[in-house]
Point group: C2
Chain length 308, copies 2
């Protein structure tokens, strides 16, 4: 029997992973917001540097989760994590006893909200390492990477996480199961907390320019995330900062996702990435003055966007 999968938040990331799961044989439905009419008529067009070109025709195209009349084996929650979006309420109509929740989202300390709201459910936390952009209505460009890291937040994990990994692997995607997905989140945050806000506050610099001019600021921000991660019990490896710096030089001129959001007038994940890290720092009594400064400047940048 086919796995039934419902994608909530069908942007670049949700659309791409959904398309891969459908390719692997799952019955994939999608909840679309602004592109509902287009996707319902034409599907989602994928242009991938790794997986080729094809059109993903979802099993069902829905305007909102409550329109899904079926029971999903997996819900893939792929929205951004922003204060104006209530993730718990969003998925409520489709959480059935058989359903496993998989959230593939950025940020740290974003799991508790879901775990507390759905204590009886199997919940999987996922991190996507991917360069994939929506280039026009219903058209995704997957330019590089793609790796997906998954980890269960449930003590008594079932074999369903293995099923999901098998599906992704069948589509030729690199997909890993990790023991400590929370530490993985902090590791990913090391890069995000530095480059994302700097790219916006600098007025739109790409990663290489940032590094060439102010590598030390990048390192200070990364170091503060490492200290918070470590103090909250999620030690990240010592060489992560050097590795991140070297990899970022290697990818040359990259535009961060937060800068993409900013330039398109979309809400930014300031709270999920910076605000939550600082809340965690406060709980354990750690001072993070560089992070705090960029966070507060980002709040002012967001405030400015709301003013006439």
């Amino acid at each position: 029997m086919k796995n039934k999968i419902l994608i909530i938040g069908t942007g670049a990331l949700g659309g791409f992973y959904g398309a891969l799961l459908a390719k692997a044989g799952a019955e994939v439905s999608v909840v679309c917001h602004s592109e509902y009419e287009y996707v319902k008529q034409y599907g989602i067009n994928i242009n991938s540097s790794i997986f080729g070109k094809w059109t993903f025709t979802p099993s069902q195209v829905l305007q909102k989760p409550e329109d899904y009349s079926d029971t999903a084996d997996f819900i893939l929650l792929c929205t951004k994590v922003i204060p104006s979006l209530d993730r718990v309420a969003l998925i409520k109509p489709v959480m059935k006893p058989e359903t496993t929740l998989v959230f593939i989202q950025n940020g740290v300390e974003i799991e508790q909200e879901l775990v507390l709201a759905y204590p009886e459910y199997e919940i999987i936390s996922g991190l996507a390492y991917i360069c994939c952009n929506r280039i026009s209505k219903g058209h995704l460009l997957h330019s590089a990477y793609g790796r997906l890291t998954l980890g269960s937040l449930t003590d008594s994990a079932t074999s369903k996480i293995e099923n999901l990994i098998t599906l992704f692997k069948a589509s030729k995607l690199e997909c890993f199961l990790v023991d400590n997905i929370i530490a993985e989140r902090w590791k990913k945050c090391v890069w995000n907390a530095a480059f994302n806000p700097i790219s916006v506050l600098s007025g739109g610099l790409l990663t290489l320019s940032i590094l060439q001019s102010q590598e030390s600021l990048v390192r200070q921000l990364m170091n503060e995330i490492c200290l918070i991660a470590s103090a909250t019990g999620h030690q990240v490896s010592d060489d992560i900062i050097d590795l991140n710096i070297a990899n970022t030089y290697a990818i040359d001129t990259y535009k961060t996702s937060m800068l993409e959001d900013f330039e398109h007038g979309r809400p930014m994940e300031t709270e999920a990435i910076l605000g939550n890290a600082l809340l965690a720092a406060k709980k354990v009594g750690i001072d993070s003055p560089h992070l705090e400064t960029v966070y507060r400047l980002m709040k002012l940048r967001e405030l400015k966007l709301t003013l006439p």
Copy 2:
């Protein structure tokens, strides 16, 4: 005999103070850059909320200092303090033995360069507390304040500083002589180092919005300037931060001069205000992480302006 005064850097500030000195009876010449033709033909039109409206017709209007064939009793150096402008070289052609140099400029640690280059000269450091803007070619709007604080950097000060103060007072301007003008510079920097960069990095917020949303960041930046000032031997009074905050709430919605410069594509005094404060901090071994972060972000903001 009339005092001969040459204004170098005839922007809003230089033009306004020059106009007052001419009103008080001095023979005031001006060096103009971009507005040379206009000012030569029409003079400088002043519209002041305190001193009324009049046209200031300079004694001589010059394109560059070396065109001044006379000997000035006072040179008023009123340019911005920016790395691309060599202040020492700029005034060299007009520094005569009889000349007293008065620089009315923002920033900290900006005096040594002049004192070292002109050790035989009487040098006066000045700070302007004024809201005055150039609104169109040759037209200045003086909207509020105006106070000028002067202090001699020369041990064997002559009576010339008193002459200058007498002139300013004759024009009804508030003009004070202070003992420690270097501490005054740090005091002024407390406000500037906080509000100027935040206004730019936030994308253009006015002072009231900044305060209402992120007063604590403002206080952290101000506090770091106070610590540097104190560590370098220029104790500022304990209540200066509270006073600055209260006064800024009182002036309501004010656009900083750095934001004005940024919006008009003019160079900003990032080094004079932030860079120099951080150099001073480094010399005395003080850590200023909030200031350092905004400084580095400002350097990136400046870098972005130079890129295509």
